[in-house]
Amino acid sequence: MSRRWGLEAKIGAVLVAAVMALSVLSLVYTPHPVYEMVSGARDLAPSLTHPFGTDSFGRDQLSRIMVGGRYTILVALVTVFGSALIGSAIGLTIGYFSGALDTAVMRLVDALSAFPGILLALIFVAVLPASSLTIVIALLILFIPGFTRIMRSSMLTWRNLDFVNTALVMGAGHFRIITRHIFPNLLPVLLSALIIGLSNAILAEATLSFLGLGIQPPTPSWGRMLAEAQSHLFSAPWCAVAPGLMIILTVLGFHFLGEGIRKRYC
């Protein structure tokens, strides 16, 4: 616990803000229309009109990155907040009441975490009908165990503190004690887990899209752009650099921010 925001948090905040700003900007403005394919402008190297060059269909890379960021971040936000909500609810409940239910749920969580994450997501993507929602659901299930575990262990350390007894003595019910008395104390832990979760979700989404299982074309996504750039990596390397750079900067940004928050509060 330190009193000031560290350099880490500041760099993270700037990076995240920049990526977010680019994505939000794409709602109202992109340098070129995103889906427009210009046959005369294929595989152009970066220039002033196309800062990140164009791809093999003649689409402007910067515009595609901006719009792609929108989808990537949206998917990341929805999955992480969704899984945080569900994971927290489960984790807080089993941590507070413990007992047989706790053991049962934790073994299930262990089983889920035993699979490599990406394999698990692949299973869900394969089993569920193909739609844009599929990736959200797959990532949601992928991230629930982590939040469940974090919130349960924090609950275990907090629920035996004296002030919980004070609340009981005042006549507060269990639901109120969990949500009003204990949960606010766990917010710093949840917040840093959320932010680091965001960077993981962006990576996972990029991976799935790279494998062709994520966001479907023509909607641009960073992972997919990387996959498409792979085939002409030597003729048009800028096609891989642009989305790769975006992924790195975003993940790094969220990671720094999460670490910074953790150091500040936990």
Binding site: D162, V169, M170, G171, A172, H181
Partner: protein, 341 residues
């Protein structure tokens, strides 16, 4: 001394608290009891003390009244009646309607007993919110009234403060304010002064006494400090190894103890007169929970124990209406002279 005929507020009868058994099979064998056959009555407006060494079951007795036994413990018998309601049979929801409202508790550690993230104002308002006072104005009025009663000055600043900004003595006042804000009939105080320094301790005791006198609030006061019990209580119960060994009015029990354990406790209080001399102590130690106890639990440490003490558990012997003792060595005749004092 108040007449024992006054209406009883809390009546605990033959209370037993035991270690929760993991397996059914073990239940047939002996259950490990931490509290056994404890009966006590708290009348309206009375302060009743429970005194004993660490681990003798004082706190467990109090916690079972509040329905707050730790997960490893369970009630294994007896009844707890508060204002004509069987607390031990109430459902959680109905118990919550009583807790914090008519029955409340103060803990030992004021520092950790308040939520670090809640402002004092909200923590004081919590019991009111939970028990149906809903308008902000009414809540504020009651909170300020309670703060005034416990002598917290500058309430406006305090309401916005967080617990870490206050001293231990102030926090204990806040705890007491939170306890009395709903005007309870009974406060259970579990060593409320143990964590405080001596001067603050005296102030808190005076405050509790004052609340008892002005509002006729009964207090069940738990302490290991005989001096504190002597200052504040009307009645006192002495517990040893989960059982009550001696009970009665403070004057009878503390000034004319009959049970060897009570005598030992009183002898081991350091006094000015005993300066320089080695402090008397009770030899031996409190038996562990799991130890097989035959006969009087105190017999192995008792200087006057005879063969019967190791074989049978003594029944309660009424030396007078105001003094009962569980000891084979007690003699009814010896007591008679004290009662009239």
């Amino acid at each position: 001394m108040r007449a024992p005929a006054s209406q009883s507020l809390l009546r605990v009868e033959h209370l037993g608290v035991g270690l929760r058994q993991r397996q059914r099979r073990q239940k047939r064998q002996h259950t490990i009891r931490a509290v056994e056959d404890v009966s006590l009555t708290v009348n309206a407006g009375e302060i009743v003390g429970i005194v004993g060494e660490s681990g003798c079951g004082k706190s467990l007795t109090a916690l079972s009244v509040m329905g707050l036994l730790p997960a490893a413990m369970e009630l294994v018998g007896g009844s707890i009646v508060f204002e004509n309601e069987r607390l031990d049979q109430l459902r959680e929801r109905n118990l919550n309607a009583i807790r914090g409202n008519r029955l409340t508790m103060i803990f030992q550690e004021p520092m950790s007993s308040l939520n670090p993230l809640m402002r004092i104002g909200r923590q004081l308002a919590e019991p009111l919110v939970l028990h149906g006072v809903s308008t902000a104005g009414a809540i504020r009025e009651r909170v300020l009234e309670a703060m005034g009663k416990v002598g917290l000055r500058d309430p406006e600043t305090l309401l916005r403060a967080y617990p870490h900004q206050l001293s231990g003595g102030m926090l204990q006042r806040v705890m007491i304010a939170a306890a009395i804000v709903c005007r309870p009939r009974l406060i259970i105080a579990d060593e409320p002064t143990t964590a405080l320094d001596v001067t603050t301790q005296a102030q808190i005791l005076r405050l509790l006494r004052q609340i008892n006198q002005t509002d006729q609030t009964s207090i069940l006061f738990i302490s290991h400090d005989l001096g504190v019990i002597n200052q504040i209580c009307d009645q006192v119960l002495v517990m040893y190894a989960g059982r009550i060994v001696e009970r009665g009015t403070v004057g009878n029990v503390l000034w004319h103890p009959v049970h060897e354990y009570t005598k030992g406790l009183i002898k081991s209080i350091p006094t000015r007169r005993s300066k320089g001399a080695p402090l008397p102590s009770i030899r031996g130690r409190v038996p562990a929970l799991a130890e097989e106890k035959a006969g009087c639990a105190f017999a192995p440490r008792c200087p006057a124990a005879h063969s019967q003490c190791f074989l049978e558990v003594p029944d309660e012997l009424a030396l007078s209406d105001f003094h009962q003792v569980n000891c084979f060595l007690a003699d009814v005749e010896s007591e008679m002279e004290y009662v009239r004092i």
